[in-house]
Amino acid sequence: MKSPLVGFAGMTHLGLVSGSALAGRGFEVVCYDSDAALIARLARRDWPVLEPGLDGLILANGARQRFTSARDELSSCDIVYVARDVPTDDQGRTKLSGLTALIRDVAGVMNSEAVLVVLSQVPPGYTRGLGLWPPERLFYQVETLVFGQAVERAMKPERIIVGCADPAASLEPRFRAVLAAFDCSILPMRYESAELAKISINCCLVASVTVSNTLAELCERIGADWSEIAPALRLDRRIGAHAYLTPGLGIAGGNLERDLATVESLSEAYGTESGLIVAALRNSRYRRDWPLRQLHARVLSRVAHPVIAVLGVTYKENTQSIKNSPAVALIEQLVGCRITVFDPAVRPLQQWHPHLTVADDALACCEGADALVIMTPWPQFRSLRASELGRRMRGRVVIDPACVLDRAAAAGAGLEHVALGAPSPAQAET
């Protein structure tokens, strides 16, 4: 069997990374998007997404990977992945109309014997309900990319979950050949199971983070230290070495919110119990305000018109996404303050705050600040020296949710350093 020609439709983050990974596994890949300007940008290697390793991967792929806005080029593909990221609204609800339209467009030009794979994030029932491709050649494949680690996860998946019309039947040979190139377990199952598997993965992660948030908050109050507890949990094989046990500032980025909204919506429609999801969302909203509460208690209630330095605006490191970013929410709430901001990947917007100054680098951002809030744990922030921060800042308060700075060094520099899950340093009596 000759090596299949594979098409990817939709050059958002998912399609671009997944298509590049497949080309990296040696396949010839056609990367299609109807947006000619986007394709031109990709052809110039001006990537619209920030992912470590993506540039090197595409460069190494060479002529195996080509970008096009000509939909007809998909007609020669043996397999076409529809891989456009599905947008969500502010409530995390999925907007599928664009994806469905894309699938129709692509199906309209595909070779009738080709394989169609839906890689985009869809709710259970979507693939079976499409009705516009022969089911024996229609598959749903679960994507498990993580922003900031997407290339590695696309190149080396832990397993591949495939939704099929008939899980007992052998996978279509060309499709199997593509999946086999990743040298990992392939798990065929019915469409709905695969669609829900994707959501289930995220729900388990959310549950783990919510537990961590809940217990980390207790640590802050009772003098325990979550950083001492988490390693002990990871050594319990029922929990696991890679468990998501890092407390955070709530769910952001869009993907987790989308899947929680889907579960809530399905639960309401089918009358199943979904208190866990409601609780996770409530915990997320509550934790998001942790920096505001800390800032108020330690600075805003004591200093008139303080200068607040904010490091990081993206919702996580190694990404350009500010979707549901706690940092942006915090900046917008600090009315009456002056804000200086620095982010290594995204230029902060003036519209977020009437008194916002964009700094050129992290240290410049901290100059003269009454408080520093490290909202995104970019790796480069870990090299900041507490003693240098202490010299540059006017105030002593450092709110560091992810504990980017060394706590002992911060204390040694006379800083009032606060981190999620860490025992709170004493506050001066008001």
């Binding site: 509550y286 305000d289 505001l292 008139a304 009456g336």
Partner: protein, 297 residues
């Protein structure tokens, strides 16, 4: 429905009308208005019985267009806990609703209570469902619903936690009662060992926040609390220390389960980022000073 402001900066309204003017908060609010140069009129029950059948018309006659009406008046549990008291309180709310339908006031600020919340939820925010378990809490919740659906004015609902300070007219369990007991009996009686935690808001801070809501033209829902709760035992110990005389703390056999209440004040901090709260220690000290001054006066 969290709080939103009509004005980016505080501005004095044309006039403030306070219902419940002789009450603990009402008196302080009128004093604060005077200090800030805000024209204000206070109406107490002796001026206008809101539960009376003709109260709506009488109130409407006293209101002017563009007034801000602060509705503090209520028959509190010490005045009655029965359904008769409930119905009188609801009649008062109905009168306010009817009066506002006839006069285009600028804003209606309703002082509700955290009694609308059940103790089944310990950490309270504005998202916490109202689930009153007694007639007093139900009264406030019903009033909120009545005002929201029938009053014709931009509405701010403020759910107040326990308020304390000198000049309190109630004798509710907590700082106010403990202080009276300490001074008059040299003894503070606790339920159980005073393990329950509650959020206590100093009256001057409550008044300051109400004035912020008034001068910003705010509408929506907000819990007024400090975000820091203390046990009744801790409060009793502080009061005993401030009293300047030996005070016995007297625990008792517990008949009801321990309940706790804490507030997530994130929405309040978003609405008023530079809010400052008087600490319990400072507030109790000021209360003592106020009570002693009142006694001497």
């Amino acid at each position: 429905m969290t709080l939103s402001h009509a004005h980016d900066e505080p501005r004095n309204p044309a006039r403030v009308v306070v219902l419940g003017a002789s009450g603990f908060i009402g008196r302080r609010l009128l004093e604060a208005c005077a200090r800030r140069g805000i024209a204000a009129v206070g109406l107490a029950s002796r001026d206008l019985d809101l539960a009376d059948a003709v109260a709506a018309g009488a109130l409407a006659d006293r209101l002017r267009a563009h007034d801000v009406l602060v509705f503090l008046a209520a028959l509190t549990p010490d005045k009655g806990r029965d359904s008769g008291t409930l119905m009188r309180n609801l009649a008062m709310a109905r009168a306010v609703c009817e009066a506002t339908r006839g006069v285009p006031i600028a804003q209606l600020v309703y002082a509700s209570s955290d009694a609308v919340y059940s103790f089944a939820t310990t950490l309270i925010s504005e998202e916490t469902p109202a689930a009153a378990t007694d007639l007093y809490g139900a009264m406030h919740r019903l009033r909120e619903l009545m005002l929201a659906s029938e009053a014709k004015a931009p509405l701010a609902i403020l759910r107040l936690t326990a308020i304390y300070g000198a000049g309190d007219t109630h004798n509710s369990y907590g700082p106010n009662r403990f202080l009276r007991q300490a001074l008059s009996e040299g003894r503070i009686a606790l339920f159980g060992n005073g393990e329950e935690t509650r959020d206590h808001l100093y009256v001057a801070d409550a008044v300051a926040l109400i004035l912020e809501v008034v001068t910003r033209g705010s509408t929506g829902l907000l819990n007024l609390a400090t975000g820091t709760s203390a046990t009744f035992r801790a409060v009793a110990d502080m009061i005993a220390a401030y009293s300047g005389r030996p005070v016995a703390i007297a625990p008792s056999t517990r008949h009801n389960p321990v309940t706790h209440r804490h507030f997530d004040i994130s929405n309040l901090l978003r609405a008023f980022p530079d809010v400052r709260f008087t600490s319990l220690a400072e507030g109790l000290a000021a209360t003592f000073a106020g009570v002693r001054a009142d006694t001497r006066g």
